[in-house]
Amino acid sequence: MDMRDLVTGGAACAVPGSSSSSSNPLAALANTLIGSSSKIQENKEIPTSITPSSERQIYTETNDHLGGLDQPFVDPNAPQHSDFLRGFHGSGGGGGQTELDAAWNDIHHPPPQLDHISDTHPHPQQPILDGPPQRMLSSLLHSFVDSSRGGVPFRATPLPVLGLSEGDKQCIRDRSSIMARHIFADKSEDFINSQVNALLCSLDIDGDARAKGPLPGRFRELEDYWNESQGTLKPGFHAADGWVAEYNQQRMVHGANGWASEFEQQHGANGWASEFEQAMNCFAFKPSTYSQLTSVDQMRGSNISSLAAMEQTRMLANTLAQNDDPKFQNSKFLQFVSKMSRGELIIDDNQVKQTALPAAGDWASEYQHQYNRSPAWADEFLSHGPDQWVNEFTTEQEQHGPVDDQWVNEFSKLHVHDWADEFGRQVGEGALGENSTDNWANAYDEFLNEQVTARQRSDTSRGVYVFSDMNPYVGHPNPLKEGQELFRKGLLSEAVLALEAEVLKNPDNAEGWRLLGIAHAENDDDQQAIAAMLRAQEADSTNLEVLLALGVSHTNELEQAAALKYLYGWLRHHPKYGTLAPPELSDSLYYADVARLFNEAAQMSPDDADVHIVLGVLYNLTREYDKAIESFQTALKLKPHDYSLWNKLGATQANSVHSADAIFAYQQALDLKPNYVRAWANMGISYANQGMYEDSIRYYVRALAMNPKADNAWQYLRISLSCASRDDMLEACDSRNLDVLQKEFPL
């Protein structure tokens, strides 16, 4: 099959666990931003603009000053120094004055000669740059920011998944917490907390105690209570703004003081914290549950739930709107924070979550269910006393599956009573204002609506093909032929309709489904492509093209296990290589095994382009782009006229930040198939990646002229227009006025 280009945009492949047909454009943007990750390698090869001769001269002169001042490198292990150093290090807390003096004086000698330093550390390890997750993140951040300009909402439907590592999440968590305190200094601590937490929630990152706590005591009222109940915690700078913050901080505690560590002592370090973490993974996007966990915050007007935080964000938006300075209105950073906080970026179906959830498939409906009943909960919450709430909380938790039971029980045993009392006190004081509740419920409703589209999306993600509503081709005498014709012309969206008519007519037509899948893939909708291909596979379970296409589509979606399954299926059903693939292996597929088998197949018949193509796809799965490029190039030697193969090569090159090479590859694809919309758009992406926005605009416009329904291309175009400061054309873009755009940006 003509697999849809590996990466419409670029970085999609790069992110583990990302579902991203729609975020690809964004991903592509990222390449520009993260360019360095692989450019580092290049930098090493390419001489920088320093001309070695002249620079060396300066340098030598400098060294002359230092002549004879050579000093041996201090080896910390050398006996004569180790004592000294130990003494020094040990003295920080009040060691002997003389020692310190001596040490300080000891180091006071002329600087060592540089060559010496270099010799000692001839080639220090260059840091390994984290590519993929960051790639996706920055694409999201920036596309977000860009799409926010001019008021066109970032599409709520695409819910890209960030393969953020724990470390990345930690970074975002910590840094955004700390920065928010600088930026939103005017706002209350509650506000800042909710900002940060909304941001974290949007990114599916749990709040964490390791994050730096809030500012030194601005709110003390609950701290005494807390200390009293604990008897252990000393008020200090980290003790922060009272009980609630403390609770929030502590709930993910790893080695902090207070009850969590007490608990750890009782139950072992991994007991509570890890269970809680799991639970949080489950519930990060079930705000009703989540809110309950933090309802004490709720009462103070601060809360961790994304929903209530959105209300807070609206306040921020208002505050910002009140600032007349247009610079603030345009600040990408503020827009970013605000957008993120508004929950417009939702990370759905994270891999972590899938593992934590008992049944991932049920998640969406459960999710919806949660939303539906949430406002009711808010009412209940108000009318019931704290004890009942605790019970309810516990029961509700239990409904969510075994993961949480233990935690809830333990939690209940632990401090729920204190908490409930505190809660009651707050209610008594009327801390829970009418307004906040109302707003909060409204926020729920609003969020609920936003989720409807999301839910539709998740239906697709479960492999259900969604047909178009109005289809003029229904009743067409030969929709398949029509569809093939339209597809050849590059009118993908039309082809999709015709092919849908075909498969409605003949649901068992594997070819119809297959072509439909391809059309969707080329039209940048991998979810639909997968759904169609699954139907094609149902109709014909051993169709090699279908298996390969499914493998590629899942690779695009970064669903490694599924991709492996189909690629392995391809091998197994292949007449030539079937013998290589032992059927028992299909139960437990590991990347290494599959890759090995395909390498064997490649050795068996080095002239089979298809094997090299699959290898290229496999390498994309593990982001070994150099190898992937090599495989595709080998395949291209055998199949130089496969336009989709050129496009795959280009996409892989773009992924590995060889955007300039990618342009050449796309050009090849276009020479072979001038109406290859996808390649035109990809070309635009590659130009945009290199910062050549004007050029990218021309290519997007060209692609759109051929297929005005390519929604993603409109988004890329919008981003490039913003980046090129062509705000004057944004209106034409928003109204999809191709005439104006084509006149302004002829290719």
């Binding site: 993260i34 320093i50 970074c171 600088h182 700078f237 950073f333």
Partner: protein, 318 residues
């Protein structure tokens, strides 16, 4: 004067103490929240109309929050990286040999690095792990760690006269003055009610120090009479990110802020704010004044731009 566009968000800019036209810029991707970093080494062009010459750039796996030129070797600089490491780069060596050192002791983001201007053999780093560390070029481990602050230490700067004295600004709302020969800090100044993001010593009076805070103010202190500030400089609309005393004028200082402006102050006059520059379109987070050319100012911000201009002129003037 020319403008340089950095691919990432600017975090810090520093003039070389050896070459009047050279500067280093620390940048971080995604506003420093997550992503890579890069240090740019730039030379001012001979004529204002031509673009900056980028001598070299060094990539890092995490954002670069600050950079400091060596006071002893014209080609050496130290970068403070968000992953907790300090990287030492040697411009005279090819990129493959760089960084010549990676010092990784801080457990959290390193926010500032400052080279000792008197002894010229050591530098200090300050980190979100609440500590300050003292380093020399020739040792693979830090000489000493200063651990008293209760929150992120956003800046640590050497006293320009006394080789052993430095000050630190922290999110715990204190300014601390340290003597390397002493086991603990010698002075704790509760300088602001809010986090202190930056501090800098006066280059003419070794007892005068300025602090910049989230409370939007810059305060100037005499550490001999530290109970009340010598001056409170109001005028920024948001947290003040960095403050810097002029190397050429005893009462002149520059600051930059989350209000996206760079301000010039004379703390000894009544209307202290003598200049405000709105050339950045995102948070202005880095500012420096050249030691070698009087009145030459550089600034950078999250708008990914580096400006260099002569005091009294418009940074945006071509």
């Amino acid at each position: 004067m020319p403008v340089f566009k950095t691919p990432f968000n600017g975090y810090s800019v520093k003039f070389s103490p050896f070459y009047e036209s050279r500067l280093a810029v620390a940048t971080a991707q995604n506003f420093g929240i997550l992503g890579n970093g890069r240090v740019h080494i730039l030379d001012l062009p001979p004529t204002p109309s031509s673009p900056f010459v980028e001598l070299a750039s060094f990539d890092t796996a995490d954002g670069v929050y600050d950079v400091a030129w060596s006071e002893s070797h014209d080609s050496l600089l130290v970068a403070a990286v968000a992953d907790g490491s300090l990287k030492i780069y040697d411009l005279s060596l090819p990129p493959t040999s760089n960084p010549i050192r990676s010092l990784h002791e801080h457990s959290r983001e390193v926010q500032s690095v400052d080279y000792n201007p008197v002894r010229r053999d050591s530098f200090i780093s300050s980190s979100w792990d609440d500590s300050i560390k003292l380093w020399t070029l020739d040792r693979p481990t830090s000489i000493r760690s200063f651990q008293e602050h209760a929150y992120c230490v956003y800046a640590a700067v050497w006293n320009p006269r006394h080789a052993d004295v430095f000050a630190s600004a922290s999110g715990d709302c204190t300014l601390r003055v340290w003597d390397v020969r002493e086991p603990g800090s010698t002075m704790v100044v509760a300088a602001h009610e809010f986090e202190i993001l930056s501090c800098d010593w006066n280059k003419y009076d070794d007892c005068v120090i300025a602090t910049a805070s989230v409370d939007k103010s810059v305060r100037v202190w005499d550490i001999r009479t530290y109970r009340t500030p010598l001056a409170v400089l109001n005028g920024h609309g948001y947290a003040v990110r960095k403050v810097k005393f002029s190397p050429h004028n005893r009462s002149f200082l520059m600051s930059c802020s989350y209000d996206m402006t760079v301000c010039a102050w004379d703390y000894m006059v009544e209307d202290a704010r003598i200049g405000q520059y709105g050339h950045h379109t995102e948070f202005a987070v880095g500012v420096d004044m050249s030691v070698l050319v009087e009145g030459l100012i550089a600034s950078t911000g999250w708008d990914e731009l580096v400006y260099v201009w002569q005091y009294g002129t418009d940074p945006r003037a071509p």
